[in-house]
């Protein structure tokens, strides 16, 4: 399983009634260095949320008794702001919107690739620390001024299209973490469906040509079948 040194260990509550999915998911997360509690229904999930301090919640929607959506609403109503990800078989056109409206921060449908789940959980886990707005981002000698909308590597200014700028911003904000292809599609292009052409690959390759190719040290790394990660070379 994938582990990244720059990911801090997260306390995760997994609310999932399917034992196999729960076990598989919990194992994976534990191997990735996180601490996982598993509960099987919404009521218990709500109690756990109130009693303990978690970094991330992973919530199934179709749960016995109190369903995931109602549980999430109850969690938010009681003032708990823990980032939450819905992990569910419900992938209908309205389902995602419903999930986000109920207080979810992200939505992933089953069947899912574990790497995708891990990337999203890691991205959610860093959230509270970054509540204050950043104006400058830096990865190695790559710098981004979010107010002036400028990008430099060392002293060399790099000219980016607005969409390329946004793509780089997402990658820089997730420095050292894997950002999956679908996360980029959602955050950069607002695509909540799977395109049949190589949209992400093409744009990444254009970005790489601007920020990496002319320079000695590559920062933008492709994680095969998973996504992309921006970081300085590891020793």
């Amino acid at each position: 399983m994938l582990t990244h040194s720059r990911n801090k260990s997260l306390n995760i509550l997994l609310i999932e009634d399917d034992k196999e999915t729960a076990e598989y998911t919990a194992n994976g997360l534990t191997q990735a260095g996180h601490v996982v509690d598993v509960v099987e229904n919404g009521k218990e999930g709500l109690l756990h949320c109130m009693e303990s301090n978690y970094d991330v919640l992973i919530v199934d929607r179709m749960l016995p008794g109190m369903d995931g959506l109602s549980m999430m609403k109850a969690v938010r109503a009681s003032g708990i702001k823990t980032p939450a990800l819905f992990l569910t078989a419900l992938s209908g056109v309205d389902d995602r919107v419903e999930g986000l409206e109920a207080g979810g921060d992200d939505y992933l449908t089953k069947p899912f690739a574990f790497s995708e789940l891990l990337a999203r959980v890691n991205a959610l886990g860093r959230r509270p620390a970054e509540s204050k707005e950043q104006t400058h981002l830096q990865v190695g000698d790559l710098t981004m001024d979010l107010l002036k909308r400028t990008v430099k590597r060392g002293d060399v200014a790099i000219d980016l299209q607005p969409r390329e700028f946004l793509l780089l911003e997402v990658l820089m904000k997730n420095e050292g973490r894997v950002v999956s292809r679908t996360m980029l599609l959602e955050k950069v292009w607002d695509f909540h469906f799977d395109p049949k052409t190589s949209v992400v690959e093409t744009h990444i390759s254009r970005l790489r040509a601007k920020i990496d190719k002319p320079f000695d040290v590559p920062l933008l790394n492709t994680m095969r079948n998973i996504g992309y990660s921006l970081h300085t070379p590891r020793s």
Partner: protein
């Protein structure tokens, strides 16, 4: 003409009356002789003075006048019209005379026509007044009733619009009248009740299918992933397992696409429709796909309206619509193809088109490409389940638009036309 025919009728009625009076006096003559007749006539005349009503003259065989209030007329049997002036009355009066024999004597009876003329005129003017009043009342009543029905029909129309936008909870009010509109409303309410329960049932079924089909698919996916972890890295087994994982993903994609099409067709998301501008969506898709096409040695040009193209819809569905059409063009066209995105507004109806100069689609297949799982033989080898255009059509139709495929000579031109914005506004 109407007046003349009425007057003729009145004169013939007067003549009948005169004859009737004469026949009565004949009876009197047989019983009481000339004196009796004179007596009756005098009494009649007393009740109806000549100026206003009836007159008479009773003359003997040689013209000697026994009695009467007019003289020197009508020795010959028959009807006459006599002006008042001849009788020493005013010129304005007209009389109808009737002369006939009573034995050897002559009896002339007269009646004032003007009274009846006046009556006729009054009747006619009354008739017209009544006619006018009736017409006005009928018109006013008609307008009132039409307005009332129109308002109710308008209510029906706005109600249907509301339902069309996915608000299946609403019901039509039923009035106490029990008229046709009430019957219609009642039937519509029943139909809505049924539709709503069917949609709820469908949603339940698709949720259950999603759960029951996706749980094993998810487990399959997890088992393959675990197997990959256990296998020797980069061994042939890993390749086979990855192929298996791709196949499982394909099953899921096809299932997801079918479910999505059904949900869009059933009007999911319609309740979230809002005023949406098509122009930035087209611009966005162009910017995203310009480089993708370039990578394929194809060119995308954009020739879109700089104005806002507002329509009532869902931005994320519209985005997927445009993306599917552009991706179709990119995927099915050879290098060096030029793809053009155009847009505009005709008669207040926003439209956009995606045209290419590639191989196109044979005319006989143009309607079939919208069918679920239909694929052109030439594209069997490319990835995909043949659901892209079914989804496109479902999205177009849920927005009340139409889609048309035509020959771009060479190539394919896909044009999507939406309803006029002002219409969908309400």
């Amino acid at each position: 003409m109407f007046y003349a025919s009425m007057q003729n009728k009145i004169i013939s009625q007067l003549d009948k009356d005169l004859v009737w009076r004469y026949e009565n006096l004949q009876q009197v003559f047989r019983v009481s002789g000339v004196e009796g007749v004179a007596e009756v006539c005098r009494l009649d005349n007393l009740n109806n003075p000549m100026q206003h009503g009836v007159g008479f003259e009773l003359a003997g065989p040689n013209g000697e006048i026994f009695d009467g209030n007019m003289t020197g007329f009508g020795r010959e049997a028959g009807f006459y019209n006599v002006n008042g002036k001849t009788l020493g009355y005013t010129e304005k009066q007209n009389y109808r005379f009737y002369t006939n024999n009573l034995g050897d004597n002559h009896l002339t009876l007269a009646v004032n026509q003007n009274l009846l003329d006046d009556l006729l005129k009054n009747s006619i003017s009354n008739f017209f007044l009544t006619f006018l009043l009736t017409t006005i009342l009928a018109l006013l009543g008609g307008i009132f009733l039409a307005n009332r029905s129109h308002a109710r029909v308008r209510n029906l129309a706005s109600f249907m619009e509301n339902v069309g936008q996915g608000n299946l909870d609403s019901r039509l009010p039923i009035s106490y009248r029990g008229d046709d509109i009430d019957n219609l409303s009642c039937n519509m309410n029943n139909a809505l009740e049924l539709l709503q329960s069917q949609i709820t049932a469908m949603k339940e079924v698709s949720n259950n299918i999603a759960h029951d089909l996706k749980t094993p698919l998810n487990r399959l996916n997890m088992k393959i992933a675990e197997a990959i972890n256990l296998a020797e890295p980069a061994s042939p087994v890993v390749n086979k397992l990855e192929d298996a994982s791709d196949e499982a993903a394909q099953i899921n994609d096809t299932f997801e696409a079918l479910l999505r099409i059904s949900q869009i067709e059933a009007g999911a998301r319609k309740s979230c429709f809002a005023e949406t501008d098509l122009t930035p969506i087209l611009q966005n898709v162009y910017e995203v796909y310009e480089v993708v096409a370039d990578e394929n040695q194809q060119v995308i040009d954009i020739d879109i309206s700089s104005e806002k193209l507002m329509l009532h819809g869902d931005a994320s569905l519209l985005l997927q619509l445009v993306v599917n059409l552009i991706e179709n063009a990119i995927r099915h066209c050879a290098p060096n193809t030029r793809i053009v995105i155009s847009s505009g507004s005709t008669d207040n109806c926003p439209w956009f088109s995606v045209c290419d100069d590639g191989d196109g689609i044979p005319e006989e297949a143009r309607e079939r490409v919208f069918e679920r799982l239909y694929r052109l033989e030439t594209s069997r080898t490319t990835k995909g389940a043949g659901l892209g255009l079914s989804l496109v059509r479902a999205i177009v139709e849920v927005h009340g638009g139409s889609i048309n495929l035509s020959d771009n000579q060479p190539g394919l031109c896909v044009k999507v036309v939406f309803n006029s914005n002002s219409q969908s506004d309400q």
